[in-house]
Symmetry: none
Subunit: 240 residues, 2 copies
């Protein structure tokens, strides 16, 4: 059987103007090659709804999977979700499960749950959410189109959440643990943990918050007991 | 007069497989912004003649300039020149001036002038050569399609050779304003400003600095007075 085929659509004026250098395309190209999926084409388009919808409709008819990056944040120029709904001719509205995820995230007090951030709970009709263990706001799959964030750490975590579903592997269970230290300080311990738990994937996603460097560690695996065991070990080593 | 528009087509299996990370797209995006040319779209396609020709024909009908990168070297998978000739429906053959440039380059003894290298003198009918001060083998412009090498140093040198020949419109003026708040907190105000200044592009670029969340807001447009007006409004709303 031939490999499944794919395309990626990167959305963002800031890439086309040269202000930001995209890294998601290269990351996804490598991840797909490892997963046995052939990336056939990549496109970068501006933050314009009609162009996003046209590109999505052309690509989704031609390849097995279309991955998009960018335009699902809280600001007025985040129009990807609406453009995807328009491309499929379906409605879009705030969805209870997405809202619950965001509410829980902001309830922890790390930032204010503004009206703008609430927009990130708007999901096209019929979509399946893509988990975002880094910053909560979910991506989504609608048909064969998989819509993810542009921020590289979030994009990469979403790809890890999504790929097992596409390759027909058993879904990976995931748990995350937040450690208020820089990545460089915990790298040694993470390497030892990864060696001990060879059956798990342990990813680290650094962030800054309130002047402190921190790292979200995401543990993924097929065996829930093993995942919980690794996270319990992290919690012992680095208490909340 | 509106700025000229452009697209870039990057050709190369090695980019889509993730083996190589493209840098030409980002380089050209920056160069075009400085030259006052609006990059509207970027595509990456594989080394397949039919796909290259189809993408070139679609893009050249839609923008003022199409820039291509890759596939004009000496090996069997360097098929870009043939694909461009096919896209335009013109012939392709070895050309005396291109051959003279290559002969002179290799006559200096730095490498053997093999039959394979001689293929690089094959140029589509009616094209204008693009100078390559790095490694001699020329690129070419056919109509509004500018065909350049994939090797970054060569690509960059060819862009420098080519750009002065292309007519730049008025460069887009831009001003930025730094606001020490997270993107989600200012999204509402930015949306109102974007609605009021429909002729300007208002982009927001979040950052962390010294433990504080902030956003650089970049205002771009052709009319300097309007750009300054929008930025003055931001400065009133969010004093430095």
């Amino acid at each position: 059987m031939p490999n499944p085929t794919a395309a990626i659509l990167v959305i963002g004026d800031e890439i086309l103007s040269g202000r930001t250098r995209d890294s998601n395309l290269h990351f996804l190209a490598r991840a797909l090659t490892r997963a046995g999926i052939d990336l056939r084409e990549a496109r970068i388009v501006a933050d314009r709804g009609a162009e996003i919808a046209a590109a999505v409709n052309e690509l989704r008819a031609r390849v097995d999977h279309v991955f998009t990056s960018g335009g699902i944040g809280p600001t007025h120029d985040d129009i990807t979700a609406d453009a995807i709904a328009a491309a499929f001719g379906v409605g879009i509205d705030e969805r209870a499960d997405a809202l619950a995820i965001l509410s829980a995230h902001y309830a922890s007090g790390r930032a204010e749950f503004t009206e703008a951030r609430r927009r990130m709970a708007r999901i096209p009709e019929g979509a399946v959410l893509i988990e975002n263990p880094v910053s909560a706001a979910p991506g989504f799959s609608l048909g064969n189109v998989h819509v993810m964030a542009g921020v590289p750490s979030v994009f990469e975590a979403m790809v890890a959440s999504l790929l097992p579903r596409l390759t027909g592997g058993r879904p990976l269970l995931s748990q995350s643990w937040r450690i208020m230290r820089g990545e460089g300080e915990i790298a040694g311990v993470l390497a030892e943990l990864a060696a001990e738990y060879g059956d798990l994937a342990i990813g680290s996603y650094p962030f800054h918050r309130d002047g402190v460097f921190g790292t979200n560690v995401v543990v993924r695996g097929e065996d829930g007991g093993r995942v919980a065991g690794a996270v319990a070990r992290l919690a012992t080593l680095f208490p909340a």
